[in-house]
Every structure is written in C-alpha cells, then in structure tokens.
Symmetry: C2
Amino acid sequence: MKIDRSRLERSIQDLGRIGETARGGLTRLALTDDDRRARDTMVRWMREAGLHVTVDRMGNIFAERAGEPGQPPVLIGSHIDSVPTGGKYDGQLGVLCGLEILRTLGDRGARTRHPVTLVIFTGEEGARFQPAMIASGVLAGKIALEDAYNARDRDGIRLVDELERIGYLGPEPCVPRAFRAYLELHIEQGPFLEEEGRSVGVVEGIVAIAWSRLTIHGVQDHAGPTPMRIRHDALVAAAEVVAGVRRIASAIGGELVTTVGRLDVSPNIPNAIPGRVSLSIDMRDPSDATLDVALPRLDRVVREACEREGVRYELEHYWRVPYTPFDRQVVAVVERAAQATGASWRRILSGAGHDAQYMAAIGPAGMIFVPSRDGRSHCEEEFTAIDDIEHGANTLLGAVVELAGRA
Amino acid sequence: MKIDRSRLERSIQDLGRIGETARGGLTRLALTDDDRRARDTMVRWMREAGLHVTVDRMGNIFAERAGEPGQPPVLIGSHIDSVPTGGKYDGQLGVLCGLEILRTLGDRGARTRHPVTLVIFTGEEGARFQPAMIASGVLAGKIALEDAYNARDRDGIRLVDELERIGYLGPEPCVPRAFRAYLELHIEQGPFLEEEGRSVGVVEGIVAIAWSRLTIHGVQDHAGPTPMRIRHDALVAAAEVVAGVRRIASAIGGELVTTVGRLDVSPNIPNAIPGRVSLSIDMRDPSDATLDVALPRLDRVVREACEREGVRYELEHYWRVPYTPFDRQVVAVVERAAQATGASWRRILSGAGHDAQYMAAIGPAGMIFVPSRDGRSHCEEEFTAIDDIEHGANTLLGAVVELAGRA
C-alpha cells in the first residue's frame, strides 16, 4: 500500500493558500480568521473522506476512521497554526500526511483492528498564545484548562474568547484518553537529514527545553541632555544579556542552543533612553543536566549585566520540559516502516518541541522527520522536496498499518 | 510687571489632563485625538485672551497680540505634542508660559511696538512622525512641505491625512517669515541647573545632532533544531551594535552622548532566531567635529558586528543638524531679564533639539531653560517646581517686553 503523491501535493498547495504571504510563506496564527478558514477546509476534507469529526474544549479537532469496537485508536497528529512569516510545511505537512494516510486506507477499504484518528492540535506554535503546545498540554493534563483559557495575546485577547469567536470551542472534554500509539510526521527544522542526504528521520526523542523571560527596568530619559554618567539604559543591559546568552552556548558547547527571540523596548523612540526592555530566552539540549548548568549561568549573566548598568530586573524561568524519549516499540515500528520504503533514513533527536512531547507523557508516541532545505524553518523559505515527503508519508502509512493491526 | 503664578499653574494642570497617563505623565502624540483636544483648548484660551488665531499648512497655530502696523512680531513658541509615556512639562510648559506672557500683557493693557505672537508647532517630538521638529523645519525652509506631508507613522498613516482629520490643515502658507526675535522657554531635560541649584538657564546654543538608522538582515530560523554553528542571528549583531554605540561615547568622552532608543525585532517570538532587526542611533555633541569623528566609528562598529555574525545590513545617516549658536543680542536680552528676576541663573547649552534650532536659521532666536528634577524628561516622572517656573516665565516676560519695545 502506498500513498497518492499527487493528491497529497495538491492538498499541501490548497491548504497553503490560506494565510499565504506575498513571498510564498505562511502567516496563520492560532485562532485567527485564517486559522478558522484552514480548520473549516480540513473539516470539510475529513468529512468528504468519511471520517467522524469531533471538537474538544480546546478546539482540538479529531477525525476518526472506525476500527473494532472498544479498541483504543492509533492517533496521527500535528497542527495547522504557524508563526508570523513562517512556512507551509511546519505542522501543516504532518496533518496533511495524516489525512493522506486515512484517504489511502479508505481507497483500499482497509479494515483495521484499532481505529485510526487524525488530530489537529490548537496553537502549537506559541506565537500568539503562550506557552507553545498549549492544547496538547491540556489534553495530557499538564496545563490546567483554565490557565489555557486565560492565556492572552499581545492585544490582551483571551484564548477562550477567540476559540468561541471562530466557532471551535467544542463540547468534548479535553482530558487524557487511551490510545494505541501517537504518531507525528514533521519537518526536521535542522540541517542533519539534508547534510547526510537522507529522506527520513526516525525520531528517538525530543530535547529538553527551558524558557525564561526577563524584564529590565532602566530609567527612561531624554537621549540628548542626559549625560552618559547618569544613565541607566535598559537596552544597554539587555544587549549584554543577548551577548551573554550567546556566550553560554559557546562556553558549554555540545548540542546546547540558546536564543533570544523576542525583545521589546519601551518607549521605543529614537530620542528616549529605553526605560524598559522585556525579552525571552530559549535554551535547549538533549540532556537535562546541561540545562541545569546553563540556567544558573543565565542567572549570573543577567545579574552582572544589570548590576553594571544599575538597573532593576525580574527574571522568571517559567517553562521547562525535560528530555522526552519516545516509546521504544513505536520507534522500532517507525524504523521498520522507514526501512520498507527503501529510502535512506537515520535515527535522530528533535531539537524542537512538538505536541508529541506531551502525548508521550500519557501513551506510546513516536515521530517521523523529513528534511528541511538548508535546515531552515519558521521562515518563508521553509521547503521540503516532494520525493522526501512521499518517503515520509509512506513511512507513516507503514507504521500506522502495523500499529493499527488487521481487523 | 510679573506673571500670574497661580493662573499659570492652573493652566498647566488643566491642559495636562488631556492625554494624562495613569501615573501622572502624558501620552499626547502628534495629530492624535488628544492632540486635537489640547489644540482646541489652546485655541479657546487664545481667543478668550483676545488674540488673533491663524493656522498654517503644517498645522502650526499662531496667536497674535497686535503691535504697531508693519512691525515684525516677537515670536514665543514651543509644542504640545509629547512622546509616549512622557511628561507634562516638555513643550507644554513653553506654550503655557507664552500664553501667560500674553495674558499678562493683556491684563496691563500694555502697548508694544512689535506684535507678540505665540506659536504652537506641530509634531516637535518626532515620536510619531519623523524627523523631529518637522513643522518648524518646513517653516524654516529646511524640509520640503511635500516630504513632511508624506511622513508616515508606524501604521503607515500620512501626516497630511491626520492634519486634515483633526481639522488643523490650515490655509496660511508655512514659509519663512520675518520676526523681531524668536524665544522659547523649555525644561532643561538635563541635570545641570538642579545640581547647581539654579532656577534659570540662559541658553547659548543647541548641540549638534546626528541620527542614523540601521537594518540588519539575518537568517530567520527555528530556535530549537538550528545548531549554533549555522546561525546568522540579526539580534546578536544588533546587541553588539548597542554595546558598540555605548563604547563610542566612553572612548571619545567629553560631552558626547550616544543612544540606541528604538529597536524592533522580526518576527519577535521566543522560538525563532531573529531574521531582521532595525534600530536607531542618536549621537550629540556641542562640537560638530566630535560627530565627524563619532560617525565613522559607528560605521566601523556596525561593519564589524555584522561581519562577525555573517549578516547583511543597511546603515543610513539620515539626519544631521549642526551646532546652533543663538543670536548674541537675544542671549544678552535673556540674560538681563534673568538677572532682573533676582533668581539664580547660568549660561548653558541645550542637549536636546528644539524648534528654536530651525527658527535660528531664519532669524534671531534664543531660549530659556528651567530645571528638570533629577535631570529627567521624556518620562512620566518629569517635573519642574512652580518656583522655578515662575522665575523662568518672568525671565521670558522681561525678554519679550525688551524685544517688543514700547509703542
């Protein structure tokens, strides 16, 4: 059994038009009108494929292909929200490959022991509502529904109000549920598969992640008549932190990555000394122990930068996800399926968080990677060749068939 | 003749309510609804004081108290727009002291040879529409009216459309006009008067100013799976520039001040490596020669920071105002008037640009400073004691009376 490559390619193009940017990327933030339009399209395609569609209280969409009564489903999941000026592959590709698996099973009239269910998770990116993976976090019981509902975007709009506004505040409870296995196909978002010329990554686990946020309070003043000797410039301190965060990675080395991705200045005009700067720090490593070393270094970098400039600060380490190993049996199934496609593959770790991370906490989970051109993602240039996508989708199909079993 | 201290204090309080922030500061950006309300209030007060009000094509408001026919007026000017979360003294104080002078002359039925005209300039701060002092720049023939009209705020809204919307696109030409003298009272915005316990600064000139803008193009990518070795992070390069701009001031020393006041990151989310950063650089010194040394250093700082991170950039030195000495006779008149109040005074330079800078290009100009508590301005904590304001206003009154002459 093989997937229909041209049907899959067409779906990627069609869904990719919703929220498309002028330069061919995608801006489809969670629970915006474009997200609603993309959801509506997915639900229509799901129904056309004969699937039973339900929506839960976090707006997660489930499309089930029945198996034998009482059997827990094989879940295939990912997301269709994007970052601003992101690409058409991150998330969307996993959802559309999942749909293609279900369409292929339908074409063949395949009967499986376990139901096969496609899941679209709400707001995986964390670009509009933090933290990232908020809806799988609620489903896994790691984030309280009420906290998720009260997450606010930059304009102060609550997640729950947007869920309701776009018509995806569903009736089903969003709680841990039994499943045979959870599988997610995703772009690698790193350079390794492409560098080694491989089509498929058999993902063994997801690196540990620590997110921190820092607010620096300087003294806002006029940029002209204020002598250098009396300045307390929040941005000068923040710039030292940015440099220090980079130095943490070079000093510790290995696979540790450190990023300041968000930085906001107030009042942010040319002729005022910045009075306040807030910024984010993202640190990741395959080993939790490395983050245990890196976080106190961050504390010191911030303390020293702020002392030197004479500014106050608040530093909060507000989100930490430990290293997530995937289920050994699921990984073995994915490996066999990759092998069977004849494509070149390797085992790999994920440097990015995925909904699979939370799902792994409540059941057996695994992931499949396909290459990212130049290792790039979260940008308009994001691209994966259709040959690689085909190998990845057939790997997913093989793994689903083995895990779902014959009826 | 003395001004009415309690009437002036009341006017400061009343006008200060329009655009007042929760913490007692002021957010009254140019050509917003709050700016319109403040203009309407000023025009009402001007008319109640029996003044003849006209508005020019840049929205500058003129309120004339007649003198002998054919005589050029003594102009008293400043502005009523503010920076975001600014204070109630920057600009507004000069306008209200000017109004108080005209009210006092009216109370006494004083007859002057030269007319005395209060001017409110549009958009002095440059917080919403750049460059700063845009309307006096047009009046002085230094900025083309069309360029000013096409200045856009961050939302892409044109200055001319906002002028029209709030009803201040006047009929009078905005061109150089003859005047006997231009006087502007303003807060010092620096620490010197307060440190020395003086009430009045007799301003000899305005420092030279250079504004530059820098855009850095990095490679936007995912903060997780992108190894440090392949990153080109626009914010890391920008942070080095911020540190380098600070070092230029410490290396050259003297009275040079350097500031990065605005910095915008794209896409500005925690888990994306910044693909683009744009920022402003503001450098000022009493001597043009110092800026001639500082600007090439800035070029080097930017080049080296961007080379190190492997990112492209565009650096533009887009605005330069040379050192502006004020008219020696006007400065001498102000000095005599300060002396006559009995207050403690000193000669001083202005570190901030003012509309007086452009007015000095087309006629005799001078300024009067009053102290800023803790040297602070462009912040909600901006404050000047009423005792100092009274001395400043009486200095302005004395100077106006001498310059306008008896009829």
